[in-house]
Symmetry: C2
């Protein structure tokens, strides 16, 4: 990176013109602060004449309400999204859905990405600290009791949690069904040596684990085991980091082993993409090792990738999450659980094994 000569400081003191406040607008329009406040909030009790007057003043002074000040008394008109991985396409779909649902509302969305080594609760807290009016979070490993405390003050929608709360709403996919579809598909194709590669489970096992449902990935793994055992086959589960690089490495090793699998069921598409890259690099294809992913991210459809994957419609999930939040803000106080039915899209990456 090349740095240009810093612009010479010509000594002119930076004029920090004070942004206009509600007070300025009130003076300019010849009304009270309260009146201006009512106008900008579309509140009851403003005459047509006053409204136009105030709006003109706002225009003239380029007035913009400070969100911080508003948040101290009323609402911030901001909805916060906690996203564990900015680059994850499934999460992107959720954000897209929510963006769409919020377009016609006065609410702005902000996203709090997880920092390096940062846990979900830090980001959720940071949203709460910022007085957002509602939170959507994807945090499978956070203590439900803690979430309920957050939900006491801020409407909260959790995506991908199978536990039930009467404080926060949940939106999930039916992970059991999705995993069943994957396994049925692979078994019907004739696969027997099927490996399941997924992300590391929580360690140590949290005390509330299994309390009221499990993490999506844990459920998928459980279904995998059940189906393997039911056929008298030996389950083989491998855990890796979430970003796909380790999935790539592990797959290389797997391919070099004496009895490589003929199919790999990946816990999600990011891992599946990493797996596919190792297979391709080894000069092999789906007839050697089939791969099935989960989430049906956009790139899965790409003809060069053509990854068989479980679609759980992230866009709808995001849209619904936003809707649930708006409902809460409109007064709903009972909890809602939404579950969608996933659907397997069969593509080129899964095929009959060459040597069964």
């Amino acid at each position: 990176m090349t740095s240009a000569q810093p612009t010479p400081d010509n000594g002119s003191p930076v004029p920090k013109p004070r942004p206009s406040t509600i007070e300025d607008v009130a003076r300019e329009a010849g009304v009270s602060r309260a009146a201006v406040s009512k106008v900008i909030r579309n509140a009851y009790g403003v005459s047509e004449r006053m409204r136009t007057q105030v709006e003109a003043a706002i225009e003239r002074l380029e007035y913009r309400p400070r969100v911080a000040a508003r948040a101290m008394r009323g609402a911030s008109f901001t909805l916060g999204f906690e996203i564990p991985q900015v680059g994850n396409d499934f999460l992107t779909m959720i954000v897209d859905g929510a963006t769409e649902a919020l377009a016609a509302t006065p609410y702005q969305m902000i996203i709090a990405p997880l920092g390096r080594e940062q846990k979900s609760d830090v980001a959720i807290n940071s949203l709460a600290d910022r007085q957002v009016d509602g939170i959507v979070a994807i945090a499978p490993r956070v203590d439900p009791a803690w979430l309920e405390r957050i939900a006491e003050r801020t409407p909260l929608v959790m995506i991908g949690r199978h536990d039930r709360s009467d404080r926060y709403d949940t939106i999930t996919g039916d992970d059991r069904s999705g995993a069943e579809q994957v396994m049925s598909h692979l078994i019907e194709l004739g696969h027997r040596r099927i490996v399941h590669l997924t992300i590391h489970p929580s360690r140590p096992e949290p005390p509330w684990a299994g309390q009221a449902g499990d993490e999506p990935h844990v459920i998928r793994t459980a279904v995998y085991r059940e189906r393997m055992l039911a056929l008298g086959l030996e389950p083989s589960v491998i855990h890796t980091l979430f970003d796909g690089s380790e999935a790539h490495e592990v797959t290389r090793a797997l391919l070099d082993s004496p009895e490589p699998p003929t199919a790999i069921f990946a816990g999600n598409d990011t891992l599946a993409i990493g797996i596919l890259s190792a297979i391709a690099e080894a000069g092999l294809d789906e007839r050697d090792v089939s791969v099935v992913g989960y989430d049906d991210v956009p790139i899965a459809r790409h003809p060069l990738v053509s990854l068989t994957s479980v679609d759980q419609d992230g866009v709808t999930m995001g849209r619904e999450a936003a809707r649930l939040l708006l409902e809460r803000l409109a007064g709903r106080t009972t909890a809602v659980q939404l579950e969608n039915a996933p659907r397997l899209h069969e593509r080129r990456s899964s095929a009959r094994p060459r040597r069964p």
Copy 2:
């Protein structure tokens, strides 16, 4: 999506326990509010004894400072990122770099994604309204004069702008060099019928266009034209939407035309991926039509995709952006311009044409 029975409202009024304030902590610790404030800000003038006392009280009361209240007087310890497209992998790299740079600081990052049909200035404004302490934005088409007004109050780093300002900092790649590398590469391979496919330029042409440099995509297009004309070839530029779907359609049509190109220079990788999908669907490959992209997003390296692309190191850009903001917050007042040198990664998607 299936809705579960709403949890019955058992009539218990939701107890909204008032979160503790700095006042509560002061009382609990037997000190003044100011003392507590100093402790949480690590400010000068606190005895060791008081510090431990206050910290204990904070712990006990689970006190968390309200960002809105802090922002009204001091800082919000928040840095805002305006991102035109959440799903764009190049932008993701920028966010990742910034996340890394911010990990060891007290600053939290929030991302303001663009809503549907929303312009960059709306999102930038919304960050400013939220009193973030600094803003990083990717907004090639916003009036520089307007940006300078924002920068008067909030430190601002613009990514991908070739104009110079003494109010805000800029980080760019050398788009001229990047595009030159692409064209040289394709020409050396023997391509003559090269099409350039890129995103729609601003319409109408903004009054400040060309004032002090141009949009990255415009520069890349200009280089393409120059190089084609220099060889006595007819430039052919096609504009599409940014999301790659239209690039896919356009490419289909191109392949069906009487004299299809032997190479396509895509304005960025998202478009290149869309182009590749059309080529693959038509049963063709790089010997028929070569493709070169720009940004070198992670998927470009994938062996199934193997897209030749210009690496402009988004991660470093993001890291530097965060660093520049922190510098400004530490007192720098002169503007800085950073430019990095892009580098072409040659991969399978570009090859000698079968029929030149």
